[in-house]
């Protein structure tokens, strides 16, 4: 039954959204929509996090991230893979 699936997905929700089907269904649909969108956002967020870290790491050594990237296949930062561009 769809109701059973909805309540299974509504575990941990706040208030009546985990108990009452009308409210739960709305919240679950919203949650699934968010998860669809955020599966794409997660890739962007991770990449931005990596860029932050690489920038910080290269600045420790005196260079900046964009300078570093210009040196095409000779990256000398801590633990960055040689052929990936980030």
């Amino acid at each position: 039954m769809n109701k059973k699936e909805v309540f299974k997905l509504a575990k941990g929700f706040r208030g009546r959204a985990k108990n009452c089907i009308r409210i739960a269904r709305e919240r679950v649909e919203k949650a699934l929509q968010y998860s669809y969108r955020d599966r794409r956002n997660k890739k962007r967020d991770m990449r931005s996090l990596w860029i932050e870290r690489i920038n910080a790491g290269t600045r420790l050594h005196g260079a900046m991230r964009n300078e570093n990237l210009r040196v095409c296949k000779e990256l000398n930062t801590e633990g960055a893979p040689g052929s990936g561009y980030v």
Binding site: E29, Q33, S35, R39, E74, G79, P81, G82, S83, G84
Partner: protein, 285 residues
């Protein structure tokens, strides 16, 4: 169309009778493929691959013989390989099977494109791995060594060390308990040395074993447009392969002194180890 169906059933039965289980598996997956082939033939007989199929199907007696020939050779090899229980070479099996399938699904879709053994290894190289051998009762799991490697598989890169588990996209052409050699190594490192590849290190190799072919957890794809009466639900499980990294080659590994008996190990050994820690960064030319 009746001739086509006859051929299909013949092929199906002849392959099912063969004792080789992998042949059966291949043919089970081949059946829907054959149906799609016939569908495409019915609709658009214009593309060159369809012409080839028409060719092969029109000369029905010849194709009968071709099927019989190919499958008899497969069956012979199948029984031979089944007899050697422990040490069955998967490469030969796959090569023979794909020789048979080449006749059936000429230039078809993605699944049966590995027509020859060589093409198999080529495609494996595209995925940056080389199939080693199957393994039986070999102890290959070593203790942890403080050496890491950065590997690329497909389009994903991983930093791995000895004994790590890595989940990658489903790797074709390899089954459970296959040894792989991942030859696209971007970086090697240890306590005293790091080697950076431009872009890959030529002499490095990382050994891995395929632990399982699994499906990912289910992801629900849900789309909704509000007030427009549009709502779609779909489930999806991605196919993964779990690899276990067993060995990293291409870099000097630091020698391990016995840590279990600190009192009995002579102090000379630890002194030598500390002297060797000189920072060396080498860039592969």
């Amino acid at each position: 169309m009746a001739t086509k169906r006859c051929l299909q059933t013949l092929a199906r039965q002849s392959s099912i009778f063969s004792p080789n289980p992998s042949l059966q598996y291949l043919h089970r997956t081949l059946n829907p493929h054959l149906q799609t082939l016939t569908l495409t033939l019915a609709s658009t007989p214009q593309t060159p691959k369809d012409d080839h199929i028409w060719h092969s199907l029109i000369l029905s007696p010849n194709t009968h013989f071709a099927f019989a020939r190919s499958f008899s050779s497969n069956r012979g090899n199948g029984t031979a390989s089944d007899e050697d229980d422990g040490v069955s070479v998967s490469e030969d099996e796959d090569g023979e099977i794909s020789d048979g399938e080449e006749v059936l699904a000429a230039n078809g879709a993605n699944r049966r494109e590995y027509s020859v053994e060589e093409k198999e290894t080529e495609a494996a190289a595209i995925g940056y791995k080389v199939i080693g051998q199957l393994e039986r009762a070999e102890r290959i799991f070593k203790d942890y060594e403080p050496v890491f490697a950065v590997i690329q598989i497909g389009s994903h890169q991983f930093k791995v060390s000895n004994g790590d588990c890595v989940y990658t996209e489903r790797l074709k052409f390899c089954e459970v308990n296959d040894k792989l050699i991942l030859n696209r190594v971007l970086m090697l490192g240890s306590k005293t040395q790091t080697m950076i590849g431009r872009p890959i290190l030529p002499d490095a190799a990382v050994h891995a074993v395929v632990e399982e072919h699994a499906l990912d957890a289910k992801v629900i794809i849900f789309k909704k447009k509000r007030r427009k009466n549009y709502r779609r639900t779909k489930g999806h499980r991605q196919e993964l392969t779990k690899l276990r990294i067993t060995d990293i080659q291409g870099i000097e590994k630091p020698e391990k002194t016995a840590p279990a008996k600190p009192e009995k190990s002579p102090p000379g050994k630890t002194e030598k180890a500390s002297v060797k820690k000189v920072e060396k960064v080498t860039v592969a030319a």
